[in-house]
Each structure stands twice: as structure tokens, then as C-alpha cells.
Subunit: 107 residues, 2 copies
DNA sequence: AAAAGGTATCTTGCGCTGCAAGGTATCTTG
DNA sequence: CAAGATACCTTGCAGCGCAAGATACCTTTT
């Protein structure tokens, strides 16, 4: 039982958010980190290992592009796999949030 | 910026749920773990260090009581500090969930 | 032209915590 | 008495977010 909500959920929230942002358009790590730092508390140092992981898992692909001001940026683009993963992780998040709210609500 | 949502949030979901359950009445570890295993995916081995931590932080107090069937149980009761912490953690959870949903929703 | 500061990448070492697995003890049931 | 549920706890491992720092590019200030 349980089983429906995988352990990865807790560690997967950031991953989910990154995928969600990328679904709106390609982006580079520094910018993604900045956006997430506003809503959620995220340090910059966290993003690079994360993006590496996403790439290793085949959820994103990368390409380089020049920056109007600063060093070249490494852009990330969602792959088909990434898009699918986003959908399922979204569902997992909803289920998790519902479960937590249920526990809190019964109080 | 950010700052409102502490890092502890991610690790604090389980803690929050435990506190919420205890706010409904005293409980013992094994039972709490069972309840949480249903809604959230939680292993039994996780609960004991967690309860120890809560106790060290002064959020819960303990007392022993016999069981109608089985070994004696160590019951946990919310302290005043624990109740206060529950409230603030609840608020943090709400803010966090809202932030995540905002990111997902914009997609 | 040198210094300063923002942009952008990445690495290293650390600490926390959830997990799997196993261990012990109690009590009930067959 | 053996089997199994209940209930406690410990140990070792692995993942991941974080702080801090290194590197490098480019613009702006002095």
C-alpha cells in the first residue's frame, strides 16, 4: 500500500519546478535558479548538479548560445521524455499535496 | 528575497505531519508510522530518529503506557512549543504549496 | 587601461535525513 | 511451544540541497 507516491517526491519538487519552467520555453541554469529563488528557497549551487542529473536522465538536451552581456549560456530544452516526466511528476505532486492537506485538515 | 520559506521545508514535511497527527491526540511511534505510510510513503525505520529529534527539540514529551496487546508503548504528547511549531510549519507548508502551484500553473 | 562588479558556469566538502535491513522484546493465538 | 503480530530501536548507506569558492567573460567606472 502507499506505493502510489514514490520516495522521489520529496527530492523531486525542485526537479518538477525546473521541468515546469522549461516547459514554457528554453532556459539556462543561472536564470532558472534566479526564478526559483524567488518563489522557493533555492541556492544557486544546487542548480548545476540538478541540471546535470536531468541531462543524464535524458529529460533535457542542451545547446550553447551567446549572451548579450556576459559569458556564453548553456540553454536547456525539454525532451519528449522530459515532457512526459513533467506530466507524471505533476500528478505525483498533486497527490502528495492532497495527502498532506488531508492530514493537516483532519486536525 | 525568498527567505520566507526556509530550507527546512523539504525535510520538514514529515515532521509537520507527525505534529499534525499528535495535535489530534497522543500517539505512539509505530501507530503514527502506520498512519503516515498510508497517505505518504514512509518507512517505519524513519519514525524513530524523527521522534527522537522532536523530543530533543522539545516539541514532544513522552510517557510509557501498557498496550492491550503487545509490548508497552511510548506515547508522545505535543508540548506548547510543539503546538506553536505546528502552527508555523503549517503556514510554511501553505506558502510552499502555493509557490509550487504558481510555478506549475503558469505553464 | 586597470579595477570593480554583474553575469554565468562549475566543483568540492559537508550535513542532514529518509531508507533498507536487521535486531530485540512482548504478547496473543494456534 | 512455535508462529506471528505488535512495538521498540540501531546501523550503514546513499541522495541531495547548501555554502563557499574557483573560473571566466563582459561592461562600466575610475
Amino acid at each position: 500500500m502507499a506505493e502510489s507516491i514514490p520516495v522521489q517526491l520529496k527530492k523531486g519538487v525542485l526537479e518538477l519546478c525546473v521541468l515546469a519552467l522549461l516547459s514554457k520555453g528554453d532556459g539556462y541554469a543561472y536564470d532558472i535558479a534566479s526564478q526559483l529563488a524567488e518563489g522557493i528557497d533555492m541556492a544557486e549551487g544546487t542548480i548545476y548538479p540538478l541540471m546535470r542529473r536531468l541531462q543524464d536522465e535524458g529529460l533535457v538536451a542542451t545547446y550553447l548560445a551567446e549572451s548579450p552581456s556576459g559569458p556564453p549560456r548553456k540553454y536547456y530544452r525539454l525532451t519528449e521524455t522530459g515532457r512526459a516526466s513533467l506530466q507524471s511528476q505533476k500528478a505525483e505532486w498533486s497527490a502528495f499535496a492532497r495527502a498532506v492537506n488531508a492530514i493537516l485538515g483532519e486536525g
